[in-house]
Symmetry: C2
Subunit: 210 residues, 2 copies
């Protein structure tokens, strides 16, 4: 007769981390909509109700995962910025870092940037709620990029214009590149670098003063 399994009991912080780890695995493989709270719970050997002790709802659980990804991308971008010799080098380095992140973590990128956000923010419950609005991190990473563009305009490397709009335009292009490559997994790997380079040159050439 099989022994009844001991009930798992973790401290709140540990359980929260365990849930995040398991949920990330399933979200990244299955996508947001096809991932069920019951499946996440089952993979941890707990009941779905327990998930709601640590996260207010499914959307908040995904938000927490998104937040981690945002942090990783942010550090990669700032490191690329500070290590570059010139602002134009930094521009290209940030571009490459962004693409590298997207191609190295395509499922994370899709989850963070290509998944439709849940319609309404969930109600705030004291003590449990989501950690940060991921838009904060995203906005901060983008702010650094924007400052870089502004410097390139002020030093006369880029043509005159609104730094915010120009930074958004560049970001749109690189995001489109990453989304395109992620959406086409059969795209020949040799041509991926060529396409990325073409986009990078196109963006830079399109912004430099002539």
């Amino acid at each position: 007769m099989p022994r009844k399994a001991a009930k798992p009991r973790l401290k709140a912080a540990e359980r929260r981390e365990a849930i995040l780890l398991a949920a990330k695995d399933i979200f990244l493989v299955e996508g947001y909509e096809r991932t069920t709270m019951r499946r996440i719970a089952a993979s941890l050997g707990i009941t779905p109700t327990t998930l709601y002790l640590h996260f207010p709802d499914k959307a908040a659980l995904m938000q927490a995962i998104c937040d981690e990804a945002f942090a990783e991308l942010g550090t990669a971008m700032t490191r690329a910025t500070v290590e570059a010799r010139t602002p134009l080098d930094a521009f290209r380095a940030v571009f490459d870092a962004y693409v590298a992140f997207g191609l190295a973590h395509p499922r994370e990128y899709r989850l963070v940037f290509m998944t439709e956000p849940p319609p309404e923010a969930s109600a705030h419950r004291p003590g449990i709620g989501r950690r940060h609005d991921p838009e904060d991190r995203g906005a901060r990473a983008f702010a650094g990029f924007q400052a870089l563009v502004r410097r390139l305009i002020e030093t006369g490397v880029f043509h005159a214009g609104d730094a915010t709009t120009m930074a958004e335009a560049a970001w749109a292009a690189v995001h489109g590149l990453v989304a395109l490559l992620i959406g086409m997994p059969d795209y020949p790997p040799a041509e991926r670098a060529a396409l990325a380079d073409t986009v990078a040159r196109m963006v830079a050439e399109g912004l430099v003063k002539r």
Copy 2:
């Protein structure tokens, strides 16, 4: 005592059109996930089961709506091409038509270009099934764009390079712009045009010969 409403009875083609019309209204307002088959049926005064007499499942219903929309994109792009005076005008006109389409049909755009395809295509049922693979229309539209880029290279307007890669680069940029704007519904409408214009100029300037 209220009279019992007469049962609605339409011919299959009429009912199919009526369903498409009602479903489109609800899908576009509520989004795909939040739209329920029961709600579509209720708005037509029929039962949800009837929907399955005309479409194999919810996804196929949305696909049919997307197919209509993307036919619209194809015609808009070809019209923009043929009506333009010069190839460079055509390039810009196609760009604008693409962006206008994406902003006018964000749900369809997201579903076709930003949704991860499920691992297995739904089973084909004789007589009912979805009409066309949307990738066919997409590939045809891109082929026209690619031919336009090739002409711009050959006439010396764009710098030398691989036409396919350069067309993909431009498409990545405009796709990123559309995806960005779709993902940020609160983006100030006045600035949307400015951002689209900046991206369009950036792409064109980045590809023209200097």
